[in-house]
Structure formats: C-alpha cells, structure tokens
Symmetry: C2
Subunit: 221 residues, 2 copies
DNA sequence: GTCAAGATTCGTGTATACAAGAAGCATCGT
DNA sequence: ACGATGCTTCTTGTATACACGAATCTTGAC
C-alpha cells in the first residue's frame, strides 16, 4: 500500500515509543537509526519529522530530536481533552445518528460482551476502538471525527492498559450500553455526559494503575 | 530564532496557501519551489511534509504534494469543531480562571473597543486572537489549549475575513463582553454556550460572505 | 588541581547525485 | 484513423557528500 519507506519507519518508531522501548528524553540518533533500519538518513529524517508533528518527539535545532513521553500532568490533560471531544461527538451524534449506525453499535456491543465473558482485554479493546470510532463518525462532522480519531490513536496505549483493572471491563461494557441507549433516544446531553465520564474515568483508572505499578516495579510500561 | 531554513519555507508556503496564491489542487513542484526559494530540494521537501501534516496539502506517493483548500462543507465542519472546542475551553475556564486573567481579558476588550471605534478590522482581529487565546489558556489544560490554538491558526484567514461584514465588529465586541461576564460570575454553561454561538456565527457569516463574493467576482480569496 | 580557551570530533542541516516509477509522446500495427 | 505498446522524459524517493554549529576533550595557565 504505502511504498514510501519513510512512512513505514515512522510507524515503526511510533510503535517503539508506544511500547516504551524509547524512554522520555532519549535522543533519536539519525545515524544509528539509519544503520538499524538499513536505510539512509533521508527517510529517517522524514520519519522523525512526522513524530515531531504528532507530538511524540520534540526537535531542538542542531541538537536532534528527542522522545517526549507525556508526564502525569499531560496525560491527565490529554484524557480530559479526549473526554470533552468525545462528549461533543456524542452530543452531535445523538441528533444525527442513523438507524444503521445504531445497529452497528449494537453489533459491536454484542461482540464486546463476548470478549468480556472471556476476559479478553485485547479483543475488547479492538471492539471498544470501533465503538468509539463509530460515534465519531456519527457526529456528522468529518473534520471533528478525524481529530477525535487522531487523539484516540495518541491515547491508545493508555486507554488500553487500564482495561486490565479488575472489574473495568464490565463497567466499561455497561457504560457502552448506556451510551447507545442515550443515542437511540436522542438524549444529546445525556449521551455527552455519559461519554465524558466514560473517558474521564479511563484517565483516572490509568492514573491509579500507574501509581499501583510504581509501587510494584519501577519499570516502564 | 529558528535557523532552520525548512521551517521558514514551511511558514512562507503556508502564508502563500492562506492568501490564496496557491489554489486548491495546485501541485507544489519541488524543483520549482527550490529554485524560487534559492535552496535545494531537501528543505523544500521537509517544508512540504509539514504542510501535509497540518492538513494544508495532500501527498500522493510518487506523484507529489497538492494544495488542499477546504471546500464549503469542510469549512463548516471546521467552524463547528472550533465552536465546540472553544465552548469546552470556556466551560472549563469559567471554573478555573484567575482574577489576573479576567483583568487581562478586560484590558484586551478595552483595546478591542478602540479598534471597533476606528473600524480597524486588522487591529481588532489581533486583539480578538489574544482574547480567545487567553480563554484557551485559562481552561487550565495546556494540551487542550494547544489544540485549540492549532485549530485557531488553521481557521485564521476565515475568521479574519468575516469581520469585514457590516456590523460584525460591534456584534463580536458585544459577545466578548458577555463572555467575560459569564466567566467572571463562573457561569460555566453560559460561557460555553455564548462562546459556541460566537464562533459558530463566524462560520455562518463567513459562509454568507463567500456566497456574496461569488456573486460579485469569481476570484479566490 | 582547577578553570579556561582552543582544537577536534561528532551530528545535524543542506546540497547534490543516483534510482525508480509515472506521465507524455511517438511509432507501429490493425 | 485509432489504439496500443515501447521509449523518453520528468519528478519523486533515496543515498551520499559537504557545511556548519555544538559538544567534548585536551592543553596550558594560574
């Protein structure tokens, strides 16, 4: 699909940052990466620029680009922003959603329930992602939907991990059902506030999880 | 400040796109731009990638990058998104704003009033920009503030032009005063809804202006 | 021994050279 | 005459070479 080497490298680097292989402040050495990816510096530089544009890294002129993992404060801010944007999507979707999309949401929730039964967090997260994406799209605003998806992608590793907390899967599932109910009945404000809480609570849960992990092992994600 | 040639070029190109010197669908020829900016293709390519990342241009592999001016539909979507995000900022700011910031907003509004008196749309827009930026910052969420500012920057040319409509300056001014009043009294929902309308109406006004200009002259902005 | 200044080295930023795919054009066949 | 196929040319994508600034190391002075 994408024959540009630089784009593949950008995705690979993003994954490496997400999985914590590159820690905060690490310099992304062009030459080193070039040899590792067996490619010249040119595509590496293009990939790095993409990372900088996404906010995953910061560039200091003549010094290089450095990984920029969000700290606790920024993570809270990102989750709050995501919560608000999802709330907006939900409020608009409650007015504009199509019957077909409601059916799709039901279908996603049926599949989600199976994942919950099997305690399959990865499977659940996949369905969860689709669930939210559908709502973005049903906001009837393509631009907003793209922005929401961009943010979702950025928060993906953090949204994912908090599902491992005991009871979180069931709670999330229940919230999804409530959201669909509100959308179906066209209760815009109710859909918005449930969605806002649904996402905000993810931030809090993630926060708790981080605090907990810190007491257990001082390693990264 | 920024010694990187590529960044300067990116800004210059952005300006050229904003001012309509490059129309929708125009190919941004690397070689041509390189000779025009008297520079090699390398910084040009980096600049183009930045444009693509901002959404101002689209890249087709092995074909080049093409200017992507938003059409009427996308503009409406962008204004709606901006309106919702500003509403969120306003709601949060109503709770979190500092006394000092309220003073600053008053000061900005005083300066704005002078621009209104002189019918100085450019001056008014500068103050207007600052007014909104202050509210973003007072949302107490740095991440949200940056996102809002990014969107504001993207919409700048369109927000600016609609101020030329007769009576718009006075109307905008009145709305700003109402917004500060709501923020000062901590009426979160009221601040949000005024801000939402304040921005949404800009989209509508811009739309009207475009429709009007289209009847007058078939040129670009 | 410590600090400062110069030299050296290393890495980014830019220019240029090379590779490869896409578009346009000409020629050949039907 | 029209269409298809191969060639040519042009442009992007990648590699390499060069320039310049930053950081470090060394050396000398106090």
């Amino acid at each position: 699909m994408d024959s540009r080497r630089a784009d593949q490298i950008a995705d690979a680097l993003e994954e490496l940052i997400f999985t914590g292989r590159f820690g905060d402040g690490d310099r992304l050495d062009e030459i080193r990466l070039a040899t590792e990816f067996d490619v010249s510096r040119t595509p590496i530089r293009e990939a790095l620029q993409r990372l900088v544009a996404s906010g995953l890294a910061a560039q200091i002129p003549r010094r290089g680009v450095f990984v920029r993992q969000p700290g606790p404060v920024e993570l809270v801010e990102m989750f709050e922003t995501m919560a608000e944007i999802e709330a907006v999507c939900g409020r608009l979707a409650a007015i504009r959603i199509s019957d077909g999309a409601l059916e799709e949401l039901d279908a996603v929730n049926r599949r989600s329930r199976l994942s919950v039964a099997e305690n399959d967090t990865d499977g659940y997260y996949r369905e969860n992602e689709q669930f939210h994406r559908l709502i973005y799209q049903q906001s009837g605003n393509g631009f907003l939907a793209r922005e929401a998806q961009r943010l979702q992608h950025r928060l993906k590793p953090y949204r994912r991990i908090q599902l491992r907390l005991r009871g979180r899967l069931q709670q999330s599932m229940a919230e999804h059902l409530a959201i669909v109910a509100a959308l179906r009945s066209g209760e815009a404000d109710r859909a918005a506030s449930i969605l806002r809480e649904h996402v905000a609570v993810q931030g809090e849960k993630f926060h708790h999880l981080m605090a907990y992990l810190k007491t257990q092992a001082p390693s990264g994600i």
